[in-house]
C-alpha cells in the first residue's frame, strides 16, 4: 500500500471540495477588469498625496526659517552657551583635590618660589644663597 492509497480518502474529500468550489469561481475577467480600473485610478491620483506632502514640507520649512530668523540674536563668542559649557566643572570636582594638589601639579623650576601649601599664607621669599654658602 503506497502513500497514494493511504491518502485516498483525503484526496477524494479534497477533490469533492475542489469540484464544488470550481463551480462558484468568480469570473477571471471580472476580477482583472476591476483590478485594471483600480490600477488606472491609482495612476491618476498617485501624485496627489506626493504633492500634498511636498507642500506641507515646504510650508513647514518656511515657518521654521522664519522662526529662526526672528529668534534671539546670537551671543558673541566667549559669552554664549558654548563658553559656559567649556568652563563648566562638575560640582564634586573639589573632592578630587587632595592636600598638596597645587604643589604636585606644578612643575618645579630653578629660581621660582614653590606654591604655598596654605593658600592664605604669604608667598615664601626666594632663597638666595649667601656668599658664605657659595664658598
Amino acid at each position: 500500500m503506497n502513500s497514494q492509497d493511504e491518502d485516498r480518502d483525503l484526496r477524494e474529500a479534497f477533490a469533492l471540495q475542489r469540484r464544488e468550489e470550481e463551480k462558484q469561481v468568480t469570473k477571471f475577467h471580472r476580477l482583472l477588469t476591476l483590478a485594471w480600473t483600480l490600477s488606472q485610478g491609482r495612476g491618476r491620483t498617485s501624485l496627489v498625496p506626493v504633492i500634498l506632502a511636498a507642500s506641507v514640507l515646504v510650508a513647514l520649512g518656511l515657518v521654521i526659517g522664519q522662526v529662526l530668523q526672528h529668534s534671539e540674536p546670537v551671543a558673541p563668542p566667549g559669552t554664549g552657551p558654548t563658553a559656559y559649557l567649556a568652563g563648566w566643572t562638575e560640582p564634586t570636582a573639589f573632592l578630587l583635590r587632595t592636600p598638596g594638589y597645587d604643589f604636585v601639579s606644578t612643575l618645579p623650576a630653578f629660581g621660582r618660589a614653590v606654591p604655598a601649601l596654605d593658600p592664605g599664607a604669604p608667598p615664601l621669599p626666594l632663597h638666595t644663597p649667601t656668599q658664605q654658602e657659595r664658598s
Binding site: 491518502d7 483525503l10 474529500a13 469533492l16 468568480t26 483600480l38 490600477s39
Partner: protein
C-alpha cells in the same frame, strides 16, 4: 503583454526572460481562487478582494514574475502574502477604533447558512475540520491535496524548509483524518 478587456488592451508588465501571459493567469485562475479561499478561511468576498489585489499588483508591476519558479508557485506565494497583509490590516482596524474615523465598510460577513445549504456534506465537514487545524497545516494540506503540489513546492510557497513542511504535513494529515473519520465513525 496585452490583455484585451472591454475592447481596450491592458498592458501587464513583465521582467525580461519571464513569460507570464494572460492565458497563463486565466488558466491558473480557478486554482488561484481555491487557494485564495483557503487563505481567507473560505470567506468568498475576502478571497475575491485578495485575488483582485494580486492582479492589481501584477498589473502595476509591484509583483513581478522573474521566472525562477513556476508561475503557479509564484502566484500562490503572492496570494498568500497578500492575504496575510490584508489580515494584518484588518486586525489593526479591529484593534483600533480607526474604522469609525475612516468610515470603513463593515467586513463582509461569513457565508450565510442558506448559501451553503446546497454544498455537499463532505465538503462542509472537510472545511469545518480544516478550520480546526493550524494555519500552516491547513495551507500545506490544501496545497498538496487540493492543488496537487509536491511538499517541496508547497514549502517554497509557504517560505519554510522542506523538513518543516514535511512535519506539518504529517501532523496535519493525522489530525485531519482523526477529525474527519474517527469522529464520524
Amino acid at each position: 503583454m496585452a490583455v484585451e478587456l472591454n475592447g481596450g488592451p491592458i498592458e501587464i508588465p513583465r521582467q525580461d526572460g519571464a513569460h507570464l501571459l494572460e492565458r497563463d493567469l486565466e488558466a491558473l485562475h480557478p486554482a488561484c481562487f481555491g487557494w485564495a479561499l483557503g487563505c481567507c478561511r473560505w470567506n468568498r468576498a475576502e478571497a475575491e478582494d485578495v485575488l483582485q489585489t494580486v492582479y492589481l499588483k501584477v498589473l502595476d508591476g509591484r509583483a513581478r514574475f522573474d521566472g525562477r519558479s513556476s508561475a503557479k508557485t509564484w502566484l500562490f506565494a503572492v496570494i498568500r502574502r497578500t492575504a496575510s497583509e490584508r489580515r494584518r490590516r484588518q486586525w489593526l482596524l479591529d484593534l483600533l477604533p480607526v474604522r469609525l474615523l475612516l468610515l470603513q465598510p463593515e467586513q463582509a460577513p461569513a457565508p450565510a447558512p442558506e448559501a451553503l445549504a446546497d454544498a455537499m456534506e463532505v465538503s462542509e465537514r472537510l472545511r469545518a475540520a480544516l478550520l480546526k487545524l493550524s494555519a500552516r497545516q491547513r495551507e500545506l494540506l490544501h496545497l498538496v491535496f487540493y492543488q496537487d503540489l509536491t511538499i517541496e513546492e508547497a514549502a517554497a510557497i509557504l517560505g519554510i524548509s522542506v523538513g518543516s513542511a514535511r512535519t506539518h504535513y504529517h501532523r496535519g494529515k493525522a489530525r485531519l483524518r482523526h477529525l474527519l473519520f474517527t469522529r464520524s465513525a
